[in-house]
């Protein structure tokens, strides 16, 4: 019972050329994005499991909400087992 099992993970990736530091991403995905002191995003490169639906949803909101369209979700097919990846 329950949701479809998703395998693999994703990384929220930023294109630093397009980014203008609007800071919408950290508001929309506060668990994935924090800002450096200049207001530009710092995103952990460790993949997040696709089964983490709330993280995926917030990543999608951040991608959609970016005024410069500098964000994208990159899928990672292989997710290391165990606690090495982010849940």
């Amino acid at each position: 019972m329950g949701m479809r099992r998703r395998t693999g993970g994703f990384v929220l990736a930023v294109n630093p050329i397009q980014c203008d530091g609007f800071g919408h991403c950290t508001e929309l995905a506060p668990d994935l994005v924090r800002l450096d002191e200049w207001g530009y995003p710092i995103i952990d490169k460790t993949p997040v499991a696709l089964s983490n639906l709330s993280a995926l949803e917030s990543a999608r909101l951040a991608v959609r909400g970016c005024p410069r369209q500098a964000l994208r979700i990159e899928r990672v097919s292989d997710l290391p087992e165990g606690p090495a990846h982010r849940a």
Partner: protein, 254 residues
């Protein structure tokens, strides 16, 4: 059916015209707020962005109403062509022509924003500058056409709109935070106005060299952000993200 000769279409034209002007002034002001990176704890920046976007849709709907009722209405003789092509209206040639110019500009801005994903960002931003011109021409159009805008509450409204937009524009260009000025030098006014004053920290690429560069070990360590799902629980419960609305229990399945 309301006859085309009835005055109600004409009243609708006038009323929607004023409402459209107010709405577009709001859109312009909100756009300035977004561009100058307003927002934070009380109102999120993304919320201002979304409001700018949604309000612009409402404004375009009212603009379409304003224009459609003008065409259909037979009280004043403006043809369907004069909506897009300036100076083709037999009724108040120049004022209605200015309205057509404003509509063309707003149309360009609107279409470019709809196609934003397909455009280069520079292209989109260049076209978006024309919203200022379109808004300003719309103010002049309102005043010159002036069935309502020259007396009483209409004049007050148009003047307030003009003031609000003009102030927003000045603030947009001259009170721009240095942080926002880094990359957005595409503005025709940006280089001259903003190059000398730079109070905020420089962009990382422009950081002046320190005398002795810090080695990684010496660099002040920041507390790493709390990782998602620090607990060993698998799959993680939404309790790991307690402050976000989307963690409310979902209804559908994915």
């Amino acid at each position: 059916m309301i006859g085309l000769t009835s005055p109600y279409l004409w009243y609708t034209t006038r009323a929607t015209g004023l409402v459209t002007l107010i709405l577009f002034t709001g859109v312009v002001v909100l756009g300035s707020l977004v561009a100058n990176r307003v927002g934070g704890a009380t109102v999120g920046r993304f919320e201002l962005s979304e409001l700018h976007r949604s309000l612009s849709i409402v404004a375009v709907i009212f603009l379409v109403l304003h224009i459609a009722t003008t065409i259909v209405d037979s009280f004043v003789a403006t043809g369907p062509i004069s909506v897009l092509v300036p100076l083709t209206s037999s009724y108040k040639r120049v004022p209605v022509g200015l309205g057509a110019v404003a509509f063309d500009l707003i149309l360009a801005v609107w279409i470019s924003s709809l196609a934003k994903a397909r455009l280069k960002n520079e292209t989109w931003r260049f076209i978006h500058w024309f919203s200022w011109l379109g808004w300003a021409i719309a103010i002049v159009h309102a005043f010159l056409t002036g069935t309502d805008a020259r007396t009483g509450i209409g004049l007050v409204l148009v003047t307030l709109c003009a003031l609000a937009g003009a102030l927003a524009g000045l603030w947009r260009f001259y009170a721009r935070p240095a942080r926002a000025a880094g990359r957005t030098a595409l503005s025709p006014l940006a280089p001259a106005a903003e190059a000398p004053r730079r109070e905020a920290p420089l962009r990382p690429t422009e950081t002046p060299r320190r005398e002795a560069p810090l080695r990684p070990a010496e660099a002040p360590r920041r507390e790493p952000p709390p990782r998602l799902g620090e607990s060993d629980e698998w799959p993680p419960t939404p309790a790991a993200f307690p402050h976000r609305p989307q963690d409310a229990p979902r209804r559908g399945r994915r």
